[in-house]
């Protein structure tokens, strides 16, 4: 065993003999508080939590549907705009060719 090994061994042995001040019993009321927390904990969600969860899910669904509808609306109006601009281009070329004569 090297010198440094021996030093650390002796130090740890001495420290182990010093003991620790860990309480053998829980603090007053600890177990009662804990059992109460467990019984009312997230293992059994209450009515309010369920309601909030449902509202959140519903809101997410509504947002998604609205986003899809808005996207379709934008695409449709862009197509209409494009068809209008085509018509204008046809009319322009017809006018120019008429005046050209």
């Amino acid at each position: 065993m090297s010198d440094s090994d021996d030093k650390i061994e002796r130090l740890l042995r001495s420290a182990a003999l010093a003991g620790e001040d860990i309480p053998a019993a829980p603090p007053f009321g600890f177990e009662t508080r804990l059992v109460a927390l467990w019984r009312s904990g997230p293992g059994k969600p209450n009515g309010m939590a369920n309601l909030l969860r449902r509202v959140a899910l519903l809101s997410a669904a509504v947002t998604l549907i609205t986003a899809v509808a808005a996207f379709r609306e934008v695409r449709q109006s862009r197509e209409i705009g494009e068809s209008f601009s085509n018509e204008f281009a046809i009319a322009d070329s017809a006018i120019q060719s008429e005046f050209g004569r």
């Binding site: 130090l11 740890l12 003999l17 860990i22 927390l37 467990w38």
Partner: protein, 193 residues
């Protein structure tokens, strides 16, 4: 805690017997408190963490099959909870000479000049010195040194408590000891200057 006793308490607690649940807490408290202390949390309160561990134990109580001793099952929950919690406490200060009290410096000197066991009146200071050395280790290394040397548990026992393999326990202990030796050597050399 005897296993038939533990199983009976678990069964009763699951059947809404609050007194049985409280008795489980009372019996398991020293084990959980020792494990929490082994990590040397700096910022998280030990009582808060002990409570968090017990809540997890109770939430998972229906999953306890009784195939392993209850204490080992609870130990693993405690070890994992502590490791997750201590992630936020990653800063590991390096030990400096100035951090040591006069008594601790006397222990360092004593170790350097004598090869005999430290005197009983040096135990408290040596414990404090070990605490300082542990603070510079990784959480898992702190735990393994505490269990192996300060609590005097065997490698097989640590394996059951933590779920780590025996080679992993030995490697972690080896690395931790190596780091502690380096720190101690560094302090000793400064001490002798």
């Amino acid at each position: 805690m005897d296993d038939p006793d533990a199983s009976a308490l678990v069964k009763a607690a699951l059947q809404h017997d609050d007194e049985a649940a409280r008795e489980l807490v009372r019996q398991l408290y020293p084990l959980v408190a020792k494990l929490v202390r082994a990590y040397r949390f700096r910022r998280t309160s030990e009582e808060d963490l002990t409570q968090m561990i017990f809540i997890k134990v109770f939430q998972k109580l229906s999953q306890f099959s009784g195939k392993v001793p209850l204490e080992h099952w609870v130990s693993r929950i405690a070890v994992n909870t502590c490791l997750n919690q201590i992630e936020s406490e990653k800063v590991r200060p390096e030990l400096r000479q100035a951090d040591l009290s006069e008594e601790e410096q006397a222990v360092v000197e004593n170790l350097a000049v004598s090869s005999e066991e430290l005197a009983p009146d040096k135990r408290f200071a040596s414990r404090q010195l070990v605490e300082h050395l542990l603070a510079a280790l990784k959480p898992a290394e702190r735990l393994v040194i505490d269990l192996l040397y300060l609590q005097g548990r065997s490698v097989a026992e640590i394996k059951k408590m933590t779920g780590w393999s025996e080679p992993l326990v030995k490697i972690r202990a080896f690395r931790a000891r190596h780091k502690m030796k380096q720190q101690l050597a560094k302090i000793s050399s400064k001490e002798q200057l």
